[in-house]
Subunit: 365 residues, 2 copies
Amino acid sequence: MIELELIKEAIKKRKARSESYRDLEFLRFSDDFQDIPRGTVVFKEDIIWGYPHIGRIFMLERGIREQFEAPFWVEEKVDGYNVRVFKHSDRVLALSRGGYVCPFTTDRLPDLINLSFFEDYPDLVLCMEVAGPENPYIEESPPFVKEDVQAFVFDIGRRNSRELLPVEERLRLVEEYGLPGVRVFGRFSLKEVGKLKEILLELDKERREGVVLKEDSERNKRAKYITSYANLSDIKITSKNMLQLPPEYYTNRILRLVLFLEEESIDKSHELYEKLGRAFIDGLFEAIEEFKREHKVSAHYRCRFRSRENALVFMEQLSKHSRHIQVIQKRLEKEGDFYVLEFEKVFMSMTGLLGHLLGGGLVFD
Amino acid sequence: MIELELIKEAIKKRKARSESYRDLEFLRFSDDFQDIPRGTVVFKEDIIWGYPHIGRIFMLERGIREQFEAPFWVEEKVDGYNVRVFKHSDRVLALSRGGYVCPFTTDRLPDLINLSFFEDYPDLVLCMEVAGPENPYIEESPPFVKEDVQAFVFDIGRRNSRELLPVEERLRLVEEYGLPGVRVFGRFSLKEVGKLKEILLELDKERREGVVLKEDSERNKRAKYITSYANLSDIKITSKNMLQLPPEYYTNRILRLVLFLEEESIDKSHELYEKLGRAFIDGLFEAIEEFKREHKVSAHYRCRFRSRENALVFMEQLSKHSRHIQVIQKRLEKEGDFYVLEFEKVFMSMTGLLGHLLGGGLVFD
């Protein structure tokens, strides 16, 4: 439970606010507040706790030595968006990391997971990554999802509890209900770092994001580690809209990249220099070309809905919650079993800046 | 004059504070406040106005068309630090851009400029860039200063006035007193952009910073434009201490770099990709290597003083005003006519972060 006084204080400090999804009313923590993580959602009777922050290690070998004291599970980190799926009254809903009900994921749940799971376990919460080329949120997509989207369960929690199930218990449930799970590389002893490094070099080569390590112990401690490929890819994909992200986004990734090479004693090759330079430059050139052609910088999305109404609710919600982004619906039509929604996000800051700069404007910095 | 009420308000809002230099007391504007620029200094009888901000154009041709309505002077922008030199009572002092009296520059004035200028013009203020490999502030140095430091006068102002002299008047005084001036490429008509572009390509090749454009008109409007070389060099020199600067420092420069290439229709060559990547990666690798060797990340400086006492005042002032930097004096000895000061700046944030990361620490981002 969260005490009523604390909720009042959070609302006063604008760290929590009331939200609605169709006829449903709830309270959402929009930021971390005291020990309550961002994305925590409070309904009349229930709390769905925000998914906990997982710390990142930059050095694999030293990081494991410092952070873990027992064997740990190694699981793939999938590059998608994080949702928590749970049963509320008679329906199953998907919450985004920030605590909004996601109309897209909620609409597509029957295609993503076996919903009978919630008939047997109405109190459990599936924490999963949704990823694929037809997702409405992020431009990256893992190489192993070829179309539409797929779900990858990586944790199971419980309503009104901050605990996550031990990995083995989760694996048992995933297997029993045929749920899609993240790839599990196994349970490693503290001495098996060499084996883990090989896995990471392999993931890097296969253009995958990285791993999450989960200590097999009471405290269930976690850490994540990201491949060099993913750091470069993050820069490349976002540089077209560089103003949208905090600049730390870039400096952090460059630092991670260099430490990855440092640990692996990979030579600073011409190829790497070139890759990093290209990641920044190509996206920006693309933005400039697009601006000159269309007088705007934007990204195009396409995704599939089961219900037309959900697509409209999604568009309305996205427009309402996007700052500095204009959302334009391009097409919503039935194709086979699905309504295909196509929309465009216009990056207003980048569009405005390029308009100013290419038009010969002055900047005081 | 600045009204007393305004000064009181600025002090209350911590935009102005009292400072001292030896026996001298003055008020310094540490930030822009209303229309008073940062670095403005108020003595009992006099105001030395802060050097005005000069806007930057990212596109040369369009920028000139948009910003100027009359012919303009083109002058080299020298990569050093900005000081304002003026006579106060019976001594000549140098103020830093931020409004501190700089003990180094003040000490070296007799070597930098012909001080008899102030006997004839006690009311004028020389605005100049001080640059060279033995300056105590910045790690960059223009290729044409081979040792020690040199001054380059680029504007002349007047105490208690915000106006700067017209370029031709400044050039006359610079010539008359044999003052060192910035290179002046001449007075250009609005149609001579082609000629200006050639100059910039030349400056870029010669590893120089760029130009300042000054409209030859009543309003004396200015704009600056930086070479691609200087943008790369800024990244390269500072990446070793990436945490010290705001991350915008980097994203801004990448954007400028791309727009420079765009305007010049220079191909995105492998060479350029590589240069940008290298600018980031080499500095960070250097920081890591240094940390592993010496358990700190730092930069070494060396400069020459006429007086030993001024060197000590300089060290004291630098220590007091450096945030997140530890200043360590390494050596202060007479060599020929000068006292040579050697000191080290230890970058505490970068040292702390690398210690944490290389030691296997977790980061929540």
